[in-house]
């Protein structure tokens, strides 16, 4: 080796500054120049080094991944995944969802790309995690960036050590997974370390408490409600409002029912009083922390109280979701009241109430029952609004999808690219062949948009075929 290094040193400087090494593997005639001796000898050494190479012994190998039980998706679907990665990434989430529903796991050679993609785009994480299989979580454990998908240690001691001394990402992962398998144990860990956690971490852990939330979490949440940092308090209050038996929920319910009553006369209507003042107890429960836009101060307090009151309180007091959404009140106070209800439906993820409140907040389509939400999203699209359709991921149920086909043709006729593309991305796979056939019969020249529609038809047809094939390949 040193012989080779000598050659490199001479070659770098040049033979005019340094004489070539005297030893040489090759015999070059004495008359040859120093340059030729250097180069020929270097060539021979290079060969000698490469041909005579002895491979170094193997290092300790990683512990192999546990065997997977789910099958890898069929070869055509593997090819599809590669295409979706290249372009049409917007369909990746739908593909992952379909993969999981059909009981497949992602092809092992693409796990790294999926992990990397979901690291950059956290909205994909739940979907990717669901199709990783044993192999994927084994892989995630080896790259710190992928800690969000890594398996947690088996032993209690190892978990304890990770919780006590680990980096932020593995601790978050530990908490998330524990919360799924033993919510109480996860919370107890957090209770023990709460005082040492930074306020950013406190906020993060509160956001993860939503999974597996139960009455046992109340003391910790009450503690968080007394934090200095406002967004920590707000998060704790929202979680407490999801525990109808909690003291916090009881306090809110009492406040709300004292302010809002149903007047049963000829026409049912609401009688609403605004809170007179922000008393200490209210302030301690987080009322007044946020200022609702477009509302006066007292109306804002009302909206917040209603927003943090368990929705079932209204059912018990004889106000159905439909009535709550539609009844009028004195002095136009139904407006802050409804704002509060929408907030509560979002926080409590209540499908029944979301369904009743869709007109007030189209984004609730994500929570409302699928059939109803899709019908509503279709109606919104027809009126020109994308909000509900954006909120409701594909595939929509077959019934509303079948009715959506006619709208799709209409939208293409009107050359409404955004709406047409959105709808084409959402329809149920069972209606896609029919939609394609219908599109093919469209003569662009008959359409209002004329020849311009040709490109749109071509694009939408491609989307429909692609999505159709995507599901077929997973059968």
């Amino acid at each position: 080796v040193s012989d080779w290094d000598d050659h490199v040193a001479v070659a770098l400087l040049g033979t005019e500054r340094r004489a070539p090494p005297s030893q040489s593997l090759v015999s070059v005639s004495k008359s040859s120049s120093a340059e030729q001796r250097l180069l020929a000898s270097a060539g021979a050494l290079a060969l000698y080094r490469h041909a005579g190479r002895v491979a170094p012994p193997a290092p300790e190998l990683p512990v192999p991944a546990p065997p997977d039980t789910r099958p890898i998706c069929p070869p055509a679907a593997v090819l599809r995944l590669e295409l979706l990665f290249g372009e049409r990434r917007e369909l990746l989430a739908e593909w992952l969802r379909a993969l999981e529903r059909r009981g497949f796991r992602a092809p092992p050679e693409h796990l790294a790309d999926l992990l990397e993609g979901a690291t950059a785009g956290p909205e994909l994480r739940d979907l990717v995690e669901a199709v990783l299989g044993e192999r994927g979580s084994w892989l995630a454990a080896q790259q710190p960036r992928w800690a969000w998908a890594a398996p947690i240690p088996d032993g209690e001691d190892d978990r304890e050590r990770m919780w006590a001394t680990g980096e932020r990402a593995p601790r978050q992962r530990l908490f998330t997974v524990l919360r799924r398998i033993d919510p109480g144990a996860a919370r107890r860990r957090l209770e023990e370390s709460w005082r040492q956690e930074s306020s950013d971490d406190r906020l993060w852990f509160l956001s993860a408490l939503g999974e597996g939330l139960s009455a046992g979490d109340e003391p910790l949440l009450e503690r968080a409600l007394r934090e200095r940092r406002r967004d920590v308090r707000t998060a704790a209050a929202a979680l407490l409002s999801r525990l109808p038996e909690s003291a916090f929920a009881r306090r809110m319910r009492e406040r709300a029912l004292a302010l809002v009553r149903v007047e049963r006369g000829l026409r049912k209507r609401l009688r609403i009083d605004l809170p007179d003042a922000l008393d200490e107890a209210m302030a301690a429960d987080g009322i007044g922390d946020q200022r609702a836009q477009g509302l006066g101060e007292r109306a804002g307090w009302l909206a917040q109280i209603v927003g943090l009151t368990p929705l079932e309180a209204w059912d018990v007091s004889g106000v159905s979701p439909d009535q709550a959404a539609n009844l009028r009140a004195n002095d136009g106070l139904e407006q802050p009241f409804r704002l509060g209800l929408v907030q509560a439906a979002h926080v409590q993820r209540d499908p029944r109430w979301a369904s009743a409140l869709l007109d007030l907040a189209p984004a609730l389509a994500a929570i409302a029952p699928a059939e109803r939400a899709a019908e509503f999203a279709l109606a919104r699209l027809r009126e020109g609004y994308l909000d509900a359709a954006v909120a409701l991921p594909a595939p929509w149920p077959p019934g509303p999808s079948a009715r959506g086909v006619a709208l799709l043709v209409e939208l293409i006729g009107a050359d409404d690219v955004r709406r047409a593309r959105l709808l084409a991305d959402r329809l149920h796979p069972s209606v896609l062949p029919e939609a394609s056939a219908l599109l093919e019969r469209q003569d662009p020249d008959d359409l209002e948009a004329g020849p311009r529609a040709r490109m749109l038809i071509a694009f939408i047809s491609k989307t429909l075929t692609l999505r159709h094939d995507m599901y077929q390949e997973l059968e």
Partner: protein, 436 residues
């Protein structure tokens, strides 16, 4: 039709064509579908009034479509082939309609004319040919002498100084060698320039290796008459003489079931170079099918990695024969579900043997059996359980892909040598072949 859907996918010039082609693989898109032994055809309704006439000559394969696409093959041809591969029942056998028959006939005419003109071209005028050859020998000899002086200047002034030179320094010397009709040497000089500009850590070592090998090649050329005969052919080929395909085809042919182990494509200036690596399943002999395509033209995609074909190859003469031509394919490809590999020590021994018989054969293939990809301190390597390791020449993303594929268990790995590292090309795990 002998093609599988995977093979059809392999014909696509790019990902968007592949996707579009898949989209056209539905029966309702097509009318007038049919196939014969030689061809497949159909009419595809596009956005225009008149359907496109799409046809594929399976014997080559060659494609023709009346659509305006400049992609080759176009999505219609791909769609037609997908359909024929996946739903043969809807593409009934039959006589080609006139528009297909005419095209096939014109193709035959063209082949014949080409053969005739070839025959005319090679019409022997031994004297003229000898004169031409003698002139070329003189030019090459002059070019070699000049290159020697240039190379020695390089060594005299030092590699550190050479590294400061602009591209022009290397390109001018390469151009002089092209003029001297020694294109092989020209490529090596451009290669030196590439290493000098690469910015890699061990650039000096790599540059000295390549310059040293070039010096050895020049010495070998001067003494060519003293070399064993097969090596003489290698030296002349490396300098830039080409061997006519007819001469290769006239040589001994090897029939075997050849596993298509992998494909690598490199972009050169106005050219794409494709290497398809084969390995005989009976004798483990390896072969390289080297093809070129000008930028924008399709590569020959008839050999699909991950398949096995019964075929006859003819090898280019060499002290370590590797490059070959496809003489005849006797069967449709079948899927390959394992890679026939060697242990690390044997693979290194095989490489050493090759270098010993042909010292410039640095980019040789190796197929490793039962190795585990490992990431050690940011470098990827493959290791045999309780055995030895080989470093990989791969970017991080490829390393992680491999790691996912293996799951910490041994896989078979095929690759090309890049100096002391192996560049992964394909792998096989749990019966699945994956191109990397």
């Amino acid at each position: 039709l002998n093609l599988t859907a995977e093979q059809v996918a392999g014909l696509a010039p790019d990902a968007s064509s592949l996707k579009a082609g898949r989209g056209l693989a539905g029966e309702r898109r097509w009318t007038g579908l049919g196939q014969s032994e030689r061809a497949v055809w159909g009419l595809c309704q596009g956005s225009g009034a008149k359907p496109y006439q799409t046809q594929v000559d399976l014997s080559v394969p060659a494609f023709r479509c009346s659509c305006p696409s400049r992609k080759f093959p176009c999505k219609h041809a791909l769609g037609l082939l997908f359909l024929a591969a996946e739903a043969p029942a809807v593409v009934p056998p039959g006589e080609p309609p006139d528009w297909v028959a005419e095209w096939l006939a014109s193709r035959e005419d063209r082949t014949e004319r080409a053969q005739q003109s070839n025959a005319r071209k090679t019409a022997p005028d031994p004297e003229a040919r000898a004169r031409r050859e003698a002139r070329r020998e003189e030019r090459v000899t002059a070019g070699v002498e000049e290159l020697e002086r240039w190379l020695h200047d390089l060594a005299r002034q030092g590699l550190a100084q050479a590294r400061q030179r602009s591209y022009g320094f290397w390109d001018e010397q390469a151009a002089r060698l092209v003029d001297a009709q020694a294109p092989g040497l020209a490529g090596r000089v451009r290669g030196l320039g590439g290493v000098a500009a690469s910015g890699r850590e061990a650039w000096a070592e790599a540059l000295l290796e390549d310059a040293g090998l070039l010096e050895l090649l020049l010495i070998a050329y001067r003494r060519i008459a003293t070399l064993p005969e097969p090596l003489q052919v290698d030296v002349r080929t490396l300098v830039g003489w080409t061997i006519a395909q007819e001469d290769v085809l006239r040589g001994p042919a090897v029939r075997d079931r050849w596993a298509v182990l992998g494909r690598s494509i490199e972009e050169e200036e106005r050219l794409r170079v494709q290497r398809v690596w084969l390995q005989a399943t009976q004798t483990s002999r390896q072969a390289l099918i080297l093809t070129f395509a000008p930028a924008g033209r399709p590569l020959d995609l008839s050999l699909v990695p991950g398949t096995v074909v019964d075929a006859t190859l003819a090898f280019y003469p060499s002290a370590s024969p590797l490059r070959a031509l496809m003489v005849e394919q006797h069967s449709a490809p079948e899927p390959l579900d394992s890679l026939p590999g060697l242990g690390v020590a044997d693979a290194l021994e095989q490489r050493a043997q090759r270098l010993a018989s042909q010292p410039w054969l640095w980019r040789s293939p190796s197929c490793l059996q039962d190795v585990v990809p490992v990431n050690r301190a940011g470098t990827w390597l493959v290791a045999e359980p309780d055995g030895r390791t080989i470093e990989l020449s791969c970017e991080d993303r490829l390393g992680w892909r491999l790691a996912g594929l293996s799951g910490g268990r041994p896989v078979a790995l095929f690759g090309e040598w890049r100096r002391e590292r192996l560049r992964p090309i394909s792998a096989c795990a749990e019966g699945r072949f994956v191109s990397l």
